[in-house]
Amino acid sequence: MKQPEEFSEFEQELAQAMSAVDPPEGFAERVMARVQSPAPAKAKVVRMQPRVLPVWLSGAIAAALLVGVYTGEQAHQRHQREKAIRAEQQFDEGMRITDETLEHVRLQLQQAGIPAGE
């Protein structure tokens, strides 16, 4: 019934490349084990497991993240406070210079006999 002689060269190459392959080692044993187990549920196959971190390492990473976030927040708040103090100092300095300038102008106007007004 099979007619490989009717195949073209490409088809013959394809048929040759598609010869049956062996299942993984221990396949028959795994099937037999499933048949003999009282509740043959899911197939047990050799499969790459996703990498799972140990609990302690996950905890350590979480703790490090928390400490990092907390430290970052603290640093940010300190920076904001320092910025506010610097701004306050600059404001005071500005006010002091302005007062001195106004006082100087007031004295000069007084010397020139011009009333500065209240």
């Binding site: 490409f10 598609m18 049956a20 392959v21 299942p23 028959a28 795994r30 043959p40």
Partner: protein
């Protein structure tokens, strides 16, 4: 009554290559193919009393393996054609037939790029050497539809092979 253990073990050993190869080539994923192949044999064990004769069992296994592989392929959220390189790594020299390993691996890669209906008929035609009429009966399709999938699948494979093999020759030169 189910099949006796000794007889069942003999049936697994006699047909495991065929069942696993259909699953692997249709699904394209090694682990899922084994899972499906195991399920096919379990189904055989359960319905063993209704199957008589080696030919009957062979046809039954081929049909169930094909349909379950198609179902598994449709369930996959990511299609195997995306990880063709992984396929080559999975198929180490120990599991490959003798001959030109690279050529075989390339053809399998190309096969995985075919859409499901074409891939299934190509596997059944060239791996199982089934006639289009037999494939049509198994899949519940018309012979014309099977021939059309086969023709389109072959054309696609030939076109892709022309490009890929040229690259392969360049790489190995």
């Amino acid at each position: 009554m189910a099949i006796a253990n000794d007889e069942f073990r003999r049936l697994i050993e006699a047909h495991q290559r065929m069942v696993f190869s259909i699953a692997l080539r249709v699904i394209g994923d090694y682990a899922t193919a084994e899972e499906v192949a195991q399920d096919v044999f379990l189904a055989l064990h359960r319905s063993g009393e209704r199957l008589a004769g080696e030919d009957h069992i062979r046809h039954w296994l081929r049909r169930v393996a094909t349909h379950r592989s198609i179902d598994a392929l449709r369930r996959q959220t990511h299609r195997p054609e995306a990880d063709a390189e992984e396929w080559v790594e999975e198929m180490d020299a120990g599991t490959m037939p003798s001959g030109n390993f690279a050529l075989h691996a390339r053809l399998d890669d190309l096969l995985r790029t075919l859409p499901e209906p074409m891939r299934v008929v190509v596997v059944l035609r060239y791996q199982e050497e089934m006639l289009p009429e037999e494939i049509a009966r198994m899949l519940g399709q018309s012979v014309a539809s099977v021939k059309c999938h086969l023709h389109r699948g072959l054309t696609l494979l030939r076109r892709k092979a022309a490009v890929t093999m040229k690259e392969y020759v360049r790489e190995t030169a």
